[in-house]
């Protein structure tokens, strides 16, 4: 593909999280040409952005605050352009987390809570925390109402999760998908252009790549 005005400018925000490069590779795989950067000026002119994160929420918030990215991310979210937040990138959208001391971005009302331990699974075993592995994801609501990022993905598809904390939005309507891990795990949040997944689409095989393809399509529509 040649560079032209219609190639969307997709930014992968470099929060120094370990999955930044996996997100970049997944975007390349579906035909995007992403720029990994922590430059707020690049973000301001992007057509779409991804906020990756793994590890601890305070680590991601510290990175955002130190890099001067917290306000720019909020402004980007308010611009209406596609913003995809992954794993801890989703968790920092909330007001607060039990995991850390730093306040989150407050883009989604609610908080982030430790997954309860001591739950038993259907084989009668203790469910481990972290919730690590492939779990079935159920999208909420009618198919026709689904956020564009999740179009064309079969109900009950398996996605790859690695997390110890779960998001609890105040508004149930913002829960776009759920997974069952003894407790209900919020698998995705959608608030218009701001979408977050608790799972890692960049590590979830073909269904995960489909989300990045949908994201690229949205970004292309934004750039035109």
């Amino acid at each position: 593909m040649t560079e032209n005005s219609k190639t969307p400018r997709i930014i992968v925000l470099n929060t120094r999280a370990a999955n930044v490069h996996s997100v970049e590779k997944a975007l390349r795989k579906v035909g995007a040409n992403p720029l990994v950067t922590s430059d707020p000026a690049e973000l301001a002119t992007a057509d779409a952005a991804v906020l990756p994160g793994v590890g601890a929420s305070d680590a991601v918030m510290t990175a955002l605050n130190t890099l001067g990215l917290s306000e720019p991310v909020k402004e980007f979210a308010a611009s209406g352009k596609p913003l995809l937040c992954v794993c801890v990138g989703l968790q920092v959208l909330f007001d607060s987390s039990e995991e850390g001391e730093l306040p989150g971005l407050g883009l989604v009302d609610g908080n982030v809570q430790l997954i309860p331990t001591g739950m038993k699974d259907n084989l009668g075993f203790n469910m481990k925390v972290p919730h690590m592995g492939w779990n079935q994801v159920e999208f909420t609501g009618e198919d026709s109402d689904r956020n564009p990022l999740f179009k064309g993905i079969p109900q009950s598809s398996n996605f790859y999760f690695v997390h110890s904390y779960r998001c609890v939005p105040d508004e149930q309507a913002e829960v776009a998908a759920i997974a069952d891990y003894g407790v209900e795990v919020c698998a995705a949040v959608a608030r218009g252009n701001v979408v977050g997944t608790q799972f890692h689409p960049e590590k979830s095989g073909d269904v995960g790549l489909k989300i990045y393809k949908n994201f690229l399509d949205l970004a292309s529509a934004t750039s035109n």
């Binding site: 490069h21 997944a26 601890a56 084989l123 492939w134 079935q136 690695v162 095989g205 995960g208 790549l209």
Partner: protein, 268 residues
Amino acid sequence: MLTRRVIPCLDVDNGRVVKGVSFVDIRDAGDPAELAAFYNAEGADELVFLDITASSDDRNTMVDVVEKVSSEVFIPLTVGGGIRSVDDMRKMLEAGADKVSVNSAAVANPQLIEDCANEFGSQCIVLAMDVKRVDGPIIGNFETFGQVPAEALFQIFTHGGRHPTALDAIKWARLATQSGAGELLVTSMDADGQKTGYDNELLSTISESVTVPVIASGGAGKLDHFYDALTEGKSDAVLAASLFHFGELKVSEVKSYLAERGIPVRGD
């Protein structure tokens, strides 16, 4: 419902996968990227690459391997072998690994686990443990950890099983997870290569001693061995190497077998 994972392990020597045979669908059984794509298509839930390159000068080859595989295959990728420092781990993560396993270096310097977990998060850190049942008095390096407790059943070995240590496996599993290991890859040296089944007593004892997921390794020979490791052995994932590489069993066969017996597996 969280599914149980089936994980092929590939040994890589100087950039080439060793110990494999050619499958119908692949041209070059030594090409890590091609084998990874093959196992991905077979339904592998995750891949483990173990760098067995003898010379540390050639270790950068592994970075290229990880870079290439992770650009083509989008399932979780664990890389181990010769990881001795936070910098070693960073190189692998930046190349595209999702998790890095540590073994001998963590025994020599348990602080490594905590340092890596603080830097990258526990979810990245897999502790690989080579375990042997105690048979007679333990001979090993007693300086770091003191005496193995009298009731110890399982002893930790390092350096590919060549060096005995004074570490009790259960104690080490607890210590390492408290330090920040996010997952344990438990290999029974007694069962490894025997094809008589995993050491389910070892696996269940460790699994009940920690809160993090346990990957069973060593001893798979038949379909029911995988089932036993996930039930009797209380493991969260099952790993095999030669069984898959020599085409004796397919990943898809293992998953179908487990699914028929009520074990949740990823089917699509």
